[in-house]
Symmetry: C3
Subunit: 129 residues, 3 copies
């Protein structure tokens, strides 16, 4: 499984295409992870941050995009480093010149966890194979 | 203390009774944990996920419900396994045939943590005893 | 970097000044941490909790405020204990008599993590020095 949670500050509205960002992340995990992330377990969501204070609270254009990834344990440290280094580089590319146009903080955090799960999305995927 | 956070995708609106799910979880922790979770520390919240991309982004009916539990450290590994195995089974039962009616991913994660707290709900509970 | 996430239950609307709380937390990290938190990395956000069940689900006035801090690893255990003990005390003071006026649970959790980041807010801050 791979859970991805995006937060973006509301002052990016109109400049950031949140759907495109979510689709980019989901497709990246599906197509560029050598099958490490089962497709049926990819869940990307995004929350708009309407209430925020950034840095010294003096830059109304200050914005942030934060990406948290939660995935099952067991992937090698080597895979984690390589895949997420590359993902972060692609995230920066995806956002393009936004860092030059305004003060923007992008962050990506990854944690491993185990839990309980039950999932009938795999069945839908198998049916369309 | 026990913090529970539910996320549900907006396409479950009308099919998932979020209030009933929250009440089921709070009551379960209160009544079925052998007093391990102090009643005054139970806090269940739910966030509707309005922006999401799931799996291969090709199943508009794909949905997810994710449950994160954060609780104080110190419960035994045996309790954790037994209680959350049972809770997850009851969660699945509670959702009933929803897994057959649509592609749905249910997940439950538990983590332990310690922090700082101050709580006057215990006083309200003591007053109504 | 320091990420702060506040959750407050919707029944505190009109009683809790969320903006003042966010500003207090951001200023505290900027001014009282002996420079441990770089100013350009401070990101405080708050989410209103519209759906919740607390304790025995019998106290409509029950409310909670939860504060999660995520910061880079490497600060000493001594700093963590001292700074967050003091921050929590200031949080309680900031909320004043609210604990007496209603059943209220305040909590603060801190975790350390490492991730990937790119940030042009530092440039804005340097430019205004």
């Amino acid at each position: 499984m791979a859970h991805v949670t995006i937060e973006w500050t509301a002052n990016l509205e109109g400049e950031l295409d949140v759907r495109a960002l979510m689709e980019m992340l989901a497709a990246d995990m599906k197509d560029r992870s050598d099958g490490v992330f089962p497709v049926g377990g990819i869940r990307v969501r995004a929350y708009r941050v309407d209430h925020y204070v950034i840095a010294d609270n003096a830059g109304p254009e200050d914005a942030f995009i934060n990406v948290d990834v939660k995935m099952g344990a067991g992937r090698s440290a080597e895979f984690r480093q390589r895949y997420f280094d590359a993902l972060f580089a692609r995230l920066r590319d995806h956002l393009g010149g936004m860092f030059d146009r305004r003060p923007l903080a992008l962050s990506l955090y990854v944690k491993e966890t185990e839990g309980w799960k039950h999932n009938s999305i795999h069945k839908r995927l198998a049916g369309t194979d």
